[in-house]
């Protein structure tokens, strides 16, 4: 490229230009000489005719692009030098810009990925979930699974859906050699893959022929599970695997974001055929979750009304399956998965982050304006010396561009890091399995545009002023007299007050979250989660139906576990504490009551209370032989005793657990004799009060979910593989699922979300503080610079440097105080919203309300102090000589 090379061959180009013009003049001279002129006269005339050689050269250069590029580079170099001289200003502007751009992009991207467009499915905005909501209970109490005949009724009679597909979850045990693993499997109805419209990554998805009676059993895998289990080996496709005792062929793998139902694999199932799988399993009748695609133009209330009519008819036929008062709840996929609480949190963030970007830009504008004000004289002088306005604009443009590009690059970096941090920190199970949090390019571009245009627009302000103002005027009063106060000063001040108020509000929220989180971590659990390994053990319903079959597995397993080195205690369990148990109404012998007495119960073995270190208060716990003999004995907690047994001696009381009657492997006459009372331990999550709970020997029934709890001497995470080996040694067709330390379970289910909220708010709080610091600094520094003259006079008249510092600091603190007042009001207004997210702390927590303004005041003081010190160092002679 010749034109490109020219850029680096400037000298050669110059020489050529020289030679070209010389040639012209010399030709002219020789022509004149040929006409008979004497050489001296010829030269004089030729030169006179040609005019100013330098001017012609300049004009020639001007038409060439590399000259402009060259000028621009020079401008940029000069700009970098200028900015380097005022490093503090440049750093403040760039960091502010970067924080605004980075934080807003990261949060906007997350919101887009989580809330606005989390699903990769065709037309996913019109896919809705269907649930029956009990209007006598709270919002979350709903049934979203349907028996197949019920579902068929909806499919046939509705007039609002294009189509409905359903899925049914099942534990799928995959046996290979001597090992068994558990997959979350989903049976899916015909047309499911057509419904979602996602092409498989490898192989094929399920097709109509797979649903025909007698078709060879097949399945399709989720990408992540395929990578984890089969290492992403493409040759696994077309091979057959033992799933729940039946060989099934893997026909395809779906792309990363296809995660329907959160399943690991999908199998075809046409529920018209007699339901063989669900026939023998507890509650398997409530099996199918359904989603439908709304017909074009049908709104959600319309769909709810239409389905409501059908459901009311069903309720009259099957009253036992419907609550007394109910509505049909139809929700879009995103609403159903993300849930309203988390959505509120994200939308508050959304508002906060938009405000942040705005304030960041306002801050940058403030900084630039402040700087331009102090440079008025510089520009006036340069204009007076003959610099064209365009020249000044170009130079300011270069400066702003350097700032904008620096800030933008830093901002993009922050956005990138922020998104990764967010994705890593976002709590499990609060967002759809399908959503992948990654940078949204459009959002980044938008934020960059806002940031850069702010910088460019406000960066050019001084150039526009130079055009408008009378030069001599600017030169004369470049130092404002005392009391000089313009509209612009008012704007600066308003921005500062807003910043302080915003920052204070966020900081107070952060403080509240922090206190709430601390309160949560200090909850007395009543059990010791350290050194405990927990796992679910899904038993195949075909081979483990009766109590003795289940005991036949656990008795040898528990014996093996207890004899392992490093294991202190091991127990069977039916739920992972502290998250509930099997719900059941309860009767107490000798007590008559009409209302429902709710409780939960656990099926466990003798070591349960030793594993969890739950304190025995009265009586005793089970012995090994009592458990093995399936004796009808019960241990209860203190809440059970105080709520249902009254003040008498609880030992020997007889309690009836209604639910055991209804199990597939039912316990006839489920009366249990209380032999002991244990201290209350959290059993309904960390934040709710303890509910009445009873423990029974696990050997009384073959039904219900099973798991183990193992207390280890050392880190329980190190024992996972050893425990799994013992399980396979006992029965290699049993899998250990969700093996995790109890502390991790608590982290995931209890601490994850509050910690995430705390993290987000803290980030905002820190950014807010930085904004306040730079904002206050820029405005005070600007005001001080404009008052140098005044300060000089004051000092000449005898003011001490301490007085000057006080003067400057007072100006700053007045603004900060106003901001704090506004911020406190805003916080009080917001406290009701925040209260919903808080636990264990009042939204008017006095400690937070006092500490946060103090912190803010301290930071503001620091920001004022730097310019104040500079002001105090003013030499009166220098200041006055300015005039």
């Amino acid at each position: 490229m010749r034109w490109f090379r020219r850029l680096f061959r400037k000298e050669a180009v110059e020489k050529q230009l020289d030679a070209e013009l010389c040639f012209h003049i010399e030709q002219q001279i020789s022509d004149y000489i040929a006409e008979g002129m004497n050489p001296g006269e010829a030269r004089r005339r030729a030169q006179a005719e040609f005019g100013g050689v330098e001017r012609v050269k300049e004009e020639c250069r001007d038409v060439r692009w590399e000259t402009h590029a060259d000028n621009f580079l020079r401008d940029v170099r000069y700009a970098v030098r200028t900015l380097w001289r005022s490093r503090a200003f440049a750093a403040a502007a760039m960091v502010t810009l970067a924080l605004g751009i980075g934080a807003s992009t990261a949060i906007f991207s997350a919101i887009d990925n989580v809330l606005l467009d989390p699903f990769p499915y065709k037309d996913s905005r019109h896919i809705v979930t269907i649930a029956i909501r009990d209007t006598d209970q709270n919002e979350q109490d709903r049934r979203n699974q349907f028996s197949f005949p019920e579902l068929q009724t909806f499919v046939r009679q509705n007039r609002v859906f294009d189509s409905i597909v359903a899925n049914a979850e099942d534990d799928i045990l995959y046996t290979t050699g001597d090992s068994t693993f558990r997959f979350g499997g989903d049976y899916v109805t015909p047309n499911t893959f057509e419904f979602f419209g996602v092409a498989p990554l490898l192989g094929r998805s399920l097709e109509p022929t797979d649903y025909k009676p007698g078709a060879p059993p097949v399945f399709v895998m989720r990408y992540v599970s395929w990578i984890n289990q089969f290492g992403g080996d493409p040759s696994t496709i077309g091979k057959s695997y033992m799933l729940n005792g039946t060989p099934r062929t893997m026909v395809g793998v779906m792309p990363l974001r296809f995660a329907w139902g959160g399943a690991d694999l999908w199998m075809p199932r046409n529920p018209v055929e007699p339901d063989t799988v669900s026939s023998d399993h507890f509650q398997r009748d409530w099996y199918w979750g359904a989603v439908g695609r709304l017909k074009p133009g049908v709104s959600i209330p319309q769909a709810e009304a239409d389905l409501g009519v059908i459901a009311q008819q069903l309720a009259t036929v099957h009253p036992e399956e419907y609550p007394k008062h109910f509505t049909v709840k139809v929700e879009t996929l995103a609403d159903a998965v993300v849930g309203s609480r988390f959505r509120d949190t994200l939308f508050i963030l959304f508002a906060a982050v938009a405000l942040l970007l705005l304030i960041g830009c306002g801050n940058v504008a403030n900084l630039l304006l402040a700087r331009s004000a102090t440079r008025e004289k510089e520009f006036a002088v340069r204009t007076a010396l003959g610099a064209g306005r365009w020249r000044l604009v170009r130079q300011l443009l270069a400066e702003s561009l350097v700032l904008a590009i620096g800030g933008s690059l830093l901002g993009a970096l922050i956005a990138w890091g922020g998104i990764h941090a967010l994705a890593a920190q976002i709590p499990a199970f609060t967002i759809a399995s399908e959503s992948v949090i990654r940078m949204n390019g459009l959002v980044l571009v938008f934020a960059l545009l806002v940031g850069m245009s702010t910088t460019l627009i406000f960066g050019l302000a001084p150039a526009l002023q130079v055009g408008r103002r009378d030069l001599s005027d600017a030169l004369r009063d470049c130092v404002k007299g005392p009391g000089g106060r313009s509209v612009r000063t008012g704007v600066h001040h308003a921005v500062i007050v807003c910043e302080v108020a915003f920052s204070l509000t966020i900081l107070i929220a952060a403080g509240m979250f922090m206190r709430s989180f601390v309160a949560l971590t200090q909850v007395k659990l009543g059990l010791r989660p350290d050194h405990v390994l927990a796992a679910r053990i899904p038993l195949s319903p075909d081979r483990y139906k009766t109590a003795s079959q289940v005991a036949g597995f656990f008795q040898p397993l528990l014996a093996r576990l207890k004899s392992m080195p490093g294991v202190a205690y091991a127990t069977e369990t039916s739920a992972i504490p502290p998250y509930g148990g099997i719900r059941s109404a309860v009767q107490v012998s000798g007590k008559v009551h009409t209302e429902n007495w709710p409780s939960i119960f656990q099926l466990c073995s003798e070591d349960y209370f030793s594993v969890l270190r739950i304190q025995l208060m009265q009586g005793r716990t089970f012995t090994e032989s009592e458990v093995n003999d399936a004796r009808k004995l019960a241990v209860i907690n203190q809440t059970f005793q105080s709520q249902y047994l009254g003040t008498g001696n609880p030992i020997g009381a007889r309690i009836h657990l209604d639910e055991l009657n209804k199990f597939p492997d039912a316990v006839t006459d489920p009366w249990f004799e209380v032999i002991g009372v244990v201290a209350d331990a959290k059993n309904h999550g960390l934040q709710d009060p303890v509910v009445p709970e009873a423990w029974l020997p696990y050997t009384v029934t073959g039904s219900a979910g099973r798991g183990i709890l193992v207390r280890t001497v050392n880190d329980p995470a190190m024992m996972v593989n050893a425990v799994r080996r013992e399980i396979w040694r006992t029965d290699h067709n049993v899998a250990m699922a969700f093996a995790e330390t109890l502390e991790n379970f608590l982290n995931i289910f209890s601490y994850g979300q509050p910690r995430f909220g705390l993290l987000l708010v803290s980030i905002f709080a820190v950014i807010g503080l930085i904004l306040v610091a730079t904002g206050v600094y820029s405005v005070i520094a600007y005001a001080t610079a404009r008052r140098t003259h005044e300060i000089g006079i004051r000092m000449a008249l005898g003011a001490a440097s301490g007085d000057v510092q006080k003067l400057v600091v007072r100006t700053g603190l007045r603004l900060v105080a106003a901001g704090i007042a506004v911020g406190l009001l805003a916080s009080l207004g917001l406290s009701r919203i925040i209260a919903k997210e808080l636990w264990g702390v009042s939204p008017y927590d006095p400690l937070t309300l006092a500490a946060v303004p103090a912190l803010l005041l301290f930071v503001a003081l620091l920001a004022c102090w730097i310019p104040a010190r500079r002001a105090a160092g003013v030499d009166p002679l220098v200041a006055l000589r300015h005039e």
Partner: protein, 113 residues
């Protein structure tokens, strides 16, 4: 007779076309171009050098002319300009435009009230 300044003003709009036309007759250097325009127009146009060279460089920048250093008949090295393909097209377009304008102007001038 128009004054010199008026002619220069008039020249400005058509200089590009004139240069392209001259160069189309054969590759030539700046001095020759100015001499030829002057001679062919029978001294009607005297191109000030202050306009000629920036114009040449502008046309080269636009890709209508390309330059080459070679020897003149007198054995001196000079920068010779010649027309590029784009230059030929541009010349045709400008001549067409000029003719249309000239025709329109002469039509108006010939109109008798």
């Amino acid at each position: 007779m128009a004054t010199n300044t008026e002619r220069t003003e008039f020249l400005k709009g058509t200089l590009d076309m004139l240069i392209l036309k001259i160069v189309a007759l054969g590759p030539s250097h700046g001095y020759a171009i100015s001499q030829r325009i002057q001679r062919i127009s029978r001294d009607f146009f005297q191109i000030p050098q202050g306009s000629l060279y920036p114009a040449l460089h502008r046309l080269e920048e636009r890709g209508w002319l390309e330059a080459e250093w070679r020897d003149t008949e007198t054995g001196r090295e000079a920068k010779f300009y010649k027309l590029t393909k784009k230059g030929w097209k541009q010349l045709d377009a400008e001549i067409l435009g000029w003719k249309q304008t000239a025709e329109a102007v002469s039509l108006i001038l010939r109109t008798v009230e």
